[in-house]
Amino acid sequence: MKPVTITGLVHDYVTRDEEGNYAESRRALDHVDLDVEEGQFIAVLGANGSGKSTLAKHINALLLPTQGRVLTCDMDTADDSYLWEIRKSAGMVFQNPDNQIVASVVEEDVGFGPENLGIPTEEIVQRVADSLAAVGMTQYGESSPNHLSGGQKQRVAIAGILAMEPRCILMDEPTAMLDPVGRREVIETVRRLNREKGITVILITHYMEEVIDADRIFVMSDGKVAMQGTPREIFARVEELRELRLEVPQVTELAHELSLRGVTMPAAVLTPEEFVEAYRANYPGTVYAEPPIAEKRPENTDPVLSLKDVRFVYGERTAFETVALEDVNLDIFQGEYIGLIGHTGSGKSTLIQLLNGLEKATAGQVLFRGEDIYGEGYNRRELRSNVGLVFQYPDHQLFEATVIEDVSYGPGNQGLSKEEIRERAEWALKLVGVAPEQWQSSPLELSGGQKRRVAIAGVLAMKPKVMILDEPTAGLDPAGRDEILGEIDRIRRETGMTVILVSHRMEDVARFADRLVVISDGHILYADTPRAVFRHRERLNEVGLEVPQVTQIMQMLKEDGIPCREDAITVAEAVESLAASKS
């Protein structure tokens, strides 16, 4: 029996006008053929809008084919009588952890599926206990889902599927909204279920690190299967993946770049260990002494923002009292690009809200251009237009009927004249690269990447001196992420603005930031150049953070006795160093 067999699948999304007549259709899947063997770990990759979610919904019979046939566990999804049997056999985990948990108590939520299937009570209780144990969430059985982390909620969602005893688990970008810790939790859980229980897993994602030990990878593009094969076969085609708006892990990219420079490397290197071995095997043993990389230190001008002995406590004098920040001292200079790193709950969200006065410190001072923002008569509303903050989800701020009106909201609040508002909105939209043709469309109809741009423009239009961006690339595909980061860097260079980028991705901050501020447990752990911070690999690992993969590789090579630049933080630097020590 095969879990999934898809032949010639076509799906058209049909839009209808108000009277219910056919208006237009968009082809989301275009003659897809796909076969999955029992017990496999399958990954489906693809950029945003490539049709991969539509595909998953077909396997679960949430959508029905326009043309072609989908067999899930040998049952035709078009046959209505199999509907519940299909959904039971191929359970689906969705992207948003909150929007798929039904009950207010974890164990009741896990029991929801079996309840719907009409399983007797005693068996439901047993299944719930087993499922929670399988995802390692037994101790949270009686908790409220609202008190769990994103990764834990996704594990609950997986348990909810397991309790229906499926043969196959479909996962539609289950990690897109999680931080690295949560992502690891979820991926490790499904991998274990696949190995130990033999459950077939179909994982849809655009994080390449998650799929390196998949049995088979399908790459989707424009509704078609553009590539398929083992991870090694797929990752060997670096250029093609880039054209499909995807990327390869840094280690694979590094090996690929080196082989282009004439260094002998296997076709696709997937892990740092493999890389070290392959590189050493061909290492001639010549020593190459390298000059240190010149460090760009920020000039000591007057700081634009300073935090002095800041302490922040949530819910003071209540049962929920938690210290979010303590002993925080930080100076931020004009024109600096700061990467703010720390995982969920480390206090970094609180920190950025202190900087523009949305939250008030319990103790300590926040100075903007030397002025105490808690001082009497200080205009905190004006501060907010000077220290712009773009929150993580653009959907939280877009509300006007058109893009241009939405971007005008900020300057409108500053009390400027009509012409000035318009001028600023247009300036900001041009700066972030939103074409004038889109200015009159509704912000809600835009793609994920365009929404981000409009949200950033909405803050830029207030002409802030400092711009804080909270995870501006979350949920975007690799190409979309690089585009947004490129825009931000360009904007900073064009306007001389100070940028504070909050991110989970070390690779991103390493490329752009002048200085990293690492927060852990409410304290500033490091505030230094990325190069200096990444020297502390072990300490960072201890607090659940990682150095960029390429830095890790270089440090491993150095430990292995190969002289190379162990402080390289980008692929380009590593290539320079390794290609040079080769010749």
Binding site: L62, V102, F112, Y314, F399
Partner: protein, 268 residues
């Protein structure tokens, strides 16, 4: 923090009242409310008060929690009492210009006030000792006989429990949206009522859009987990009456009998 808010403020404790079947508590509370309107004079409060105090002691909910429950209705309470004080006819005991207080008014006002307080006490004791989920379950079961006349008992219960699950999430989201707009210079705390209402639009619209998206996502997730209405569903935690519930019902019968008999004999 917002995610810690609960509807109907449950007071966690291990008491025999907490352990009662929610149906027992719902029926009990309903009877209690009815009983409050069965008598017209003060001695009746003695019976009700004693019966209530007994349950309160068993429930281990501190009295100050009960009093705290009065805070939100304090204005209504004062209004009711004062209206009765000033607007009743009869023997005048105090007068200042056109304002006068009558003996009947005093009695009626106090009576209404005590009745209202006991009413709130009774219902909050139920919410203090029953989790929202148990309440929903109890209501579903109690109304399920009405399914014969197409009363959507299961659907209403499901809607209630989903609302309970999403209220804290949406509350937190509203807070985040408010901050996102404040970061764009929104001024939400000054100006007249119209200006303030207008200032809420930038919060309200994204919240509404998000609520719809969540509803759509959740519906799909529920379908994917084989939800197809209440038909053929089993329960992981079915409601079961225990011996304690029998005592509960006995207590109610005795209580109602006392009230009704006293009423028939015109004692209260």
């Amino acid at each position: 923090m917002l995610r810690d808010i609960t509807i109907g403020q449950y007071y966690p404790a291990k008491s025999c009242i907490h352990r009662l079947d929610p149906r027992t508590k719902i029926v009990g509370t309903t009877l209690y409310i009815v009983s409050l309107f069965l008598f017209k004079s003060f001695p009746g409060f003695l019976v009700v008060g004693t019966a209530f105090a007994g349950v309160l002691i068993l429930s281990r909910v501190p009295l100050r929690y009960m009093l705290r429950g009065l805070r939100p209705i304090l204005m209504i309470l004062l209004f009711t009492v004062l209206c009765n004080f000033f607007l009743s006819g009869g023997e005048v005991v105090w007068q200042w210009k056109f304002l006068k207080i009558t003996k009947e008014g005093l009695l009626r006002g106090t009576f209404m006030g005590v009745r209202l307080i006991l009413l709130i006490f009774g219902t909050s004791l139920m919410t203090y000792t029953t989790t929202p989920n148990q309440l929903t379950d109890g209501l579903e079961r109690l109304f399920s006989p009405l399914k014969v006349i197409r009363f959507p008992a299961h659907e209403i219960a499901m809607m209630m429990s989903i609302a309970l699950r999403f209220i804290p999430i949406l509350a937190e989201e509203a807070d985040r949206i408010r901050k996102a707009q404040m970061a764009r210079g929104a001024d939400m705390d000054s100006g007249g009522p119209i200006k303030r209402a207008k200032a809420m639009l930038p919060v309200f619209i994204p919240l509404l859009v998000s609520a719809f998206r969540r509803a759509f996502d959740l519906a799909m997730a529920m379908e994917a987990r084989c939800y197809h209405g209440g038909k053929g569903r089993t329960k992981m935690k079915p409601l079961r009456y225990r011996t304690a519930d029998l005592f509960g019902y006995l207590y109610m019968v005795c209580y109602m009998a006392t009230i009704i008999l006293l009423r028939i004999w015109q004692k209260i």
